[in-house]
């Protein structure tokens, strides 16, 4: 059986990167992977509804962090999708037989070991299978504190969940990992890309503009959709921001941790200082979640509180814009 050094992380995608690369001798922390992959983002998409509730995201779309990190660090991955569960499970068996840990996409709804209250239909969860124990598979799920096992039927269901995005049994594993990597250039590229996504996308739903866009809509929730739905909409914003995998405050703390680590590594005090500023913005996000949680709990929607929440978001947008403008001007 392959020994796999499992370390619990906050977010599944950056966590799998960190755990998997370490297996091949490439040390990279979770925040570093998140930063090089330019994982930080904001988007509010009222048209994309999840169970009738508008979608909000605090990070880039699933899979992007992984592919960017591989490209920037020169890691070569092998990746497969399948049409039939039988084939997908056979391919998995073949690879782990060789002692290679395999990363894959899954739906948390079908993971029996996952905390029950989180088991909604979320299809882009990354985990690593590193061996077998009788029929069962040994799993290193980055958001769990220890390794676990899963039965083949559940794993097959999780890998072939329907909906968006469809995992289609996707599995991946590195075929060539460099032992020594100079992080300087990947860090710069990651930061440049993050700034572009936060500041320059010419659509109102994305980046800093997206936060303002959300602010405008939150203000109108009570009159537009009524008490009950307004509460649900707010609840979803909180969940996307604070549920497992975010590292706190919708990935803001994780990205701040990256800036500080990068600042130390490159001996760049400006990066460290910006990291501190982003930490302050993260605290603003937490205050927002706290107030929004109180509004949810109160149930009766009063316009005053929704106005206040909207103003909090506008303030966050201003502060976050300052942080990323400053970050975009950093000299390396």
């Amino acid at each position: 059986m392959t020994a796999f050094n499992h370390v619990q992380t906050a977010h599944c995608e950056s966590g799998v990167i960190s755990n998997m690369f370490r297996h091949y001798g490439l040390q990279i922390s979770e925040p570093m992977a998140f930063g090089i992959g330019a994982g930080i983002f904001f988007g509010h998409l009222p048209m994309v509804k999840v169970n009738g509730v508008p979608g909000t995201t605090y990070r880039i779309w699933p899979g992007a962090i992984f592919s960017r990190v591989c490209k920037r660090l020169g890691v070569k991955m092998e990746s497969h999708k399948f049409s039939k569960p039988e084939k997908a499970m056979q391919a998995l068996d073949d690879v782990i037989e060789k002692g290679i840990p395999v990363g894959m996409l899954s739906s948390v709804y079908y993971l029996p070991y996952f905390p029950e209250s989180y088991r909604f239909h979320f299809n882009a969860h990354n985990l690593v299978v590193f061996g077998k124990q009788g029929r069962d598979y040994l799993v290193s799920d980055p958001v769990m504190d220890t390794t676990t096992v899963i039965d083949p039927e559940s794993l097959a269901q999780a890998r072939f969940a329907k909906g968006f995005p469809e995992p289609k049994g996707k599995m991946y594993y590195p075929v060539s990992v460099p032992q020594q990597v100079d992080f300087a250039k990947p860090i710069q590229e990651g930061i440049k890309q993050a700034c572009y996504y936060m500041l320059k996308i010419p659509m109102p739903q994305f980046g800093v503009k997206g936060i303002r866009y959300l602010a405008k809509r939150v203000k109108k929730y009570p009159e537009k959709v009524g008490d009950r739905r307004a509460g649900l909409y707010l609840g979803n914003i909180i969940r996307m921001q604070e549920e497992i995998g975010t590292g706190g405050a919708g990935f803001r703390f994780m990205y701040a941790a990256f800036l500080q680590e990068a600042g130390t590594l490159l001996n760049n005090n400006e990066l460290k200082a910006i990291g501190k500023e982003l930490t302050a913005v993260g605290d603003l996000w937490r205050n927002f979640a706290f107030s929004a949680g109180r509004v949810c709990k109160a149930r009766a929607a009063d316009t005053v509180s929704y106005n206040e929440l909207s103003n909090m978001l506008l303030h966050i947008a201003d502060e976050e814009e300052k942080v990323f403008r400053r970050l975009s001007k950093v000299k390396f």
């Binding site: 619990q8 992380t9 906050a10 979770e30 925040p31 169970n51 009738g52 709804y109 905390p115 029950e116 209250s117 989180y118 088991r119 909604f120 239909h121 958001v143 769990m144 504190d145 329907k162 909906g163 509460g231 649900l232 707010l234 609840g235 979803n236 909180i238 969940r239 604070e242 549920e243 497992i244 995998g245 590292g247 706190g248 405050a249 703390f253 994780m254 701040a256 941790a257 500080q260 680590e261 990291g275 501190k276 930490t279 993260g282 605290d283 937490r286 979640a289 706290f290 929004a292 949680g293 109180r294 949810c296 709990k297």
Partner: protein, 140 residues
């Protein structure tokens, strides 16, 4: 967020069996991962989401018992699916699944299709055919 500000609001949702990781600043100003058993706003939001599911399941159950809908509608809510998702899983068009939610149409569904639905809902096929409504239990 400072290390000592990392929330530790247990709420029985995970019975203390699950801890998540946050990044927080330690006294020297460096970031370090800290585990947390939960935070009040997230607990509220999660509880609210499950309450919504529960309410929809109950409403649909009442309509099935009143003879307005078939058990397919009930089990769709119980497995947290919606119409587009269920249709994708069943390999049918949405209008077809909608039809199967009519009690009169449901009565005449073939064994193969019933078995396919039952597998999606993780219940025995004969339970589905007999219209047994396995109760929904939200995570406590």
């Amino acid at each position: 967020m400072k290390k000592d500000e990392v929330p530790q609001d247990g709420d029985n949702l995970h019975h203390g069996t699950f801890k998540q990781l946050f990044y927080a600043v330690d006294p020297s100003g460096e970031y370090a991962p800290v585990s947390s058993i939960g935070w009040e706003p997230e607990n509220v939001a999660l509880g609210q989401a499950w309450e919504e599911v529960e309410q929809r399941v109950n409403e649909t159950r009442d309509r099935v018992l009143a003879g307005q809908l078939s058990p397919i509608a009930y089990y769709m809510e119980r497995t947290l699916l919606d119409l587009p998702l269920l249709a994708r899983k069943a390999g049918k068009f949405q209008w077809q699944v909608k039809r199967h939610m009519k009690p009169a149409v449901f009565k005449n569904l073939g064994a193969t299709l019933l078995a396919r639905y039952a597998a999606i809902f993780s219940i025995p096929a004969d339970a589905l055919q007999k219209g047994k409504l396995v109760p929904f239990k939200r995570p406590q």
